[in-house]
């Protein structure tokens, strides 16, 4: 079975949504073992973040839905690693 083991997303988050809370919520999703959220740019109303997730079976739909509900805007998938083991 092919699963997503690592996902790197480019996301815009409203400044008044605590990014720490968003990272914590993502880490609680099933199939995710760890989350790294790095702010790369802060603008007037938003901040741009690079979110890296690793796990045994990451559900892209669940991640997208969580980000959507939180009011974040997914700009793109920067990196996606699938398969039986992580490469690179």
């Amino acid at each position: 079975m092919t699963v997503i083991r690592r996902l790197v997303l480019d996301v815009m988050i409203p400044l008044n949504v605590p990014s720490s809370e968003l990272a914590l919520k993502l880490s609680k999703l099933s199939g995710i073992d760890g989350v790294d959220l790095m702010i790369v740019e802060v603008e007037h109303k938003i901040e741009k973040a690079k979110i890296t997730m690793e796990g045994e079976n990451i559900s892209l739909d669940a991640v997208k839905s969580l980000l959507d509900k939180a009011g974040a805007s997914l700009q793109g998938v920067d990196r996606i690693s699938c398969g039986k083991r992580l490469v690179g």
Binding site: M12, P14, N16, E21, H44, I46, A70, G71, A72, S73
Partner: protein, 194 residues
């Protein structure tokens, strides 16, 4: 109500973080409680000077006044807050290049508008009802004095509440509110004397 807040504590905390509604609610609560208390205080002073001795009449006028202030607060705050929040939301939608309908983010903003209206509407009614309550339980001749005492106590407590927020001397901030009430009383009595 308490059960609702306990059950939804985490959600409410999130809503507060997103919208900053806690500070606004605090402000509205003090502002409108004072508004309601002072209006009823003024009304009672007028009745006292005019020697109105019918408690039912006082209660009727007082309750109508309180409801009117409450309704004004509810609708006013609901509409102004909604307009402000909608504006903020649209600005955010432009910044994010996406619509925010059906998100927790939007729900937080909607909730903030509604709860602000509710607090704005209820706080003057509660303050006014407390001040009017002696007219239900004691004879009119005494009720006036109890009501004035309650009004000044509410002014003082509201002042103290603000003092707690600003981390100032509680007695001093409480006294400031009482002074405002007393100045209002002097003005009303002077006007009544004309």
């Amino acid at each position: 109500m308490l059960k609702f807040f306990k059950k939804n504590a985490e959600k409410l905390r999130y809503y507060d973080t997103v919208t900053g509604m806690g500070k606004i609610l605090r402000r509205y609560f003090v502002m409108n409680s004072f508004d309601g208390a002072l209006t009823i205080f003024g009304m009672l002073l007028g009745s006292f000077v005019a020697q109105v001795s019918d408690p039912v009449l006082i209660l009727r006028i007082g309750i109508s006044t309180a409801v009117a202030i409450g309704f004004s607060g509810l609708t006013g705050a609901l509409m102004t807050e909604r307009a402000e929040r909608m504006n903020e939301l649209k600005t955010m939608e432009r910044a994010l290049h996406r619509k925010l309908d059906n998100t927790d983010y939007k729900r937080a903003y909607d909730f903030a508008s509604v709860i602000t209206g509710v607090v704005d509407g209820l706080s003057p009614v509660i303050a006014a009802s407390i001040i009017l309550s002696p007219f239900v339980f004691v004879p009119v001749s005494e009720a006036y004095y109890y009501a004035f005492g309650l009004a000044l106590t509410i002014f003082f407590l509201l002042g103290m509440f603000l003092g707690r927020i600003s981390k100032e001397h509680l007695i001093l901030t409480g006294a400031r509110f009482v002074l405002a009430g007393l100045i209002c009383m002097v003005v009303i009595l002077l006007l009544e004397g004309l």
